[in-house]
Symmetry: C2
Subunit: 358 residues, 2 copies
Amino acid sequence: MNLKELSRRLGLSMTTVSRALNGYPDVSPRTRERVVSMARELGYAPNASARRLTSGRTETIGFVPQNIAAYYGNPYFADLLAGIGETLHGANFDLVLACVPEGEAPFEVCRRLVEGRRVDGLILDRTFTEDPRVEYLATRGFPFATLGRDRQAGRHAFLDLDGERALELATSRLIELGHREIAFIAADPRFNFVRERLAGYRRALARAGIPWREEHLRHDGIGEEAGARAARALMALRRPPTALLCIEDLTAIGAMRALRALGHRVGREVSVIGYNDIPLARIAEPPLTTIRMPIRAAGRRLAAMVLALVGGADPADLQEVWEPELVIRESDGPPAAAMPAADGPAAASLSRRPTAPR
Amino acid sequence: MNLKELSRRLGLSMTTVSRALNGYPDVSPRTRERVVSMARELGYAPNASARRLTSGRTETIGFVPQNIAAYYGNPYFADLLAGIGETLHGANFDLVLACVPEGEAPFEVCRRLVEGRRVDGLILDRTFTEDPRVEYLATRGFPFATLGRDRQAGRHAFLDLDGERALELATSRLIELGHREIAFIAADPRFNFVRERLAGYRRALARAGIPWREEHLRHDGIGEEAGARAARALMALRRPPTALLCIEDLTAIGAMRALRALGHRVGREVSVIGYNDIPLARIAEPPLTTIRMPIRAAGRRLAAMVLALVGGADPADLQEVWEPELVIRESDGPPAAAMPAADGPAAASLSRRPTAPR
DNA sequence: TTGTAAGCGTTATCAC
DNA sequence: GTGATAACGCTTACAA
């Protein structure tokens, strides 16, 4: 069933039927009613390809992750997509998910979508500081929004949870608790979100006059295994840290497991702070102190931004930075040396590797 | 830049250019070379909508989850999508992700995709025993594959990890270890995967002559919180179970946390078995005994199936059941009453609520 | 080997 | 209000 056939049966022209169906004003109420009911009866649905070809709009938005492998096992992904998808669905837009296979350039995938006119707009996640995707799209003036800022951020829509501020918050808290040996388990520093958070970490250290130590910075990656590995390496240092900041909750959970296996009581001798506040964080042992990232809401907002861009909005009006919030649970506390019954001055003392019970 | 313009510049007809670009044999090597290099130079890329309209093929596959909310916080989702996306990408197909918002019928979403001719095929996950999506698609003869079987399974392509067999395996193992009070933390029984696994659980119990107890079956849901809640409820029973089978790893992880909080040592007094073998399972405390689900490979296979269907394959030839594998780690063991130093006969004794240390 | 021309199913621009 | 008719950009018989 197509427009032609439908209008033939109605004894009307395609024009009139099309207008009736698309809610144009210049059609008589009676005609519209006839058309609509007949269309329903015959199960008419317009052919999306034809409509797209004619109108020039695809009513489709693409999502291009940096590398989908990076999301393996990460609960964060479903929530982000759910938020995006929900909003697009409400606008009658489709969501195309571009899965960039290992070894292929995400940039090429973007290009395929843009040049083939397969999408009206794009959403990018986990951008690199120098990101060919961003460069390509920004130069072309193509509508897109990123989760997180990058070097080109002035030229496009973005939504960012202020990662620098977040890590400043987390680091400062640890410092206030009395920690001076604070490590950071990060990931590939090409990621903007890694770079940003790192900056916050270093700034907080600097402000407190704590020297920054190279060996306290790890780039193992995001997963639990990476977190565990990094934690083991850190605790094996001659001067092991008393607190571990982690790039994500999953990383923190891995780190906590490793710490426990080494006999440390997390939240007592060693503090751990995560990032994102995934559901698992609340239920972790001990419950994880972390930065809250309203990821589903972020997905919704990103989708709304791209829809606005497609509707002609100015990217400059679509640049948001959300304030981070530190959710304090039980995985952090004063360092062992600063505990009530401890000897010596609290904050400035060197940390010692505690010999935990059990 | 479009075909018309490109052919004008080349001094060739659109036909010839189209053929040269699409690799048809009846075009001279010299011409093809000229065409290809000029196309590249001018950055020509065919308009997907136009091609779709003409060819009648969209080169797009849709994925319609039952309810995306059910995946919140579930790492399983990213892996499944990655597998699907990878394979589709290799075939130059797009992946449309349909996010069904809360309260809306997934069936309607399917219909929109099918009737608007937005996709050539569909992949469904987490089907219900009576699933309007399946009914609709199967009746229409539309190409689609499901992850898991359902009542209509004879009529469509599917891939299923044998959940019944899997739970038989897991349950039998617990029985062999000496357990007789074995609970099952399940989820909404409308899900086929829940029903199947439940059947395996009951069959194994029946074969061992263990009476099936209603109060040992829970339908709390999949997340960690649900698992924790169910575990607490079960352990509060007058005759608490000595072993907990869980519908997914996340459920099991939640249950283990709750058990520990109650003072039980998981793998000693109480056994727990999960399902899926997500990355977290290996690193859980204790490492979780579970059913291995090669979810990314499943995604790949599902995509390949739909591609085959679109290419004209017979659904009857695309029905696979994969053998489950039990990954034994440390979350299961003999029941407390059957431990070496225990009194009385091993297997048949009533379990007692152990009073754990710490 | 190459070209002509007829669609594909819409929407949009005109007249009437 | 309604109806011809021309795009939209491509593929593909059919001719040459």
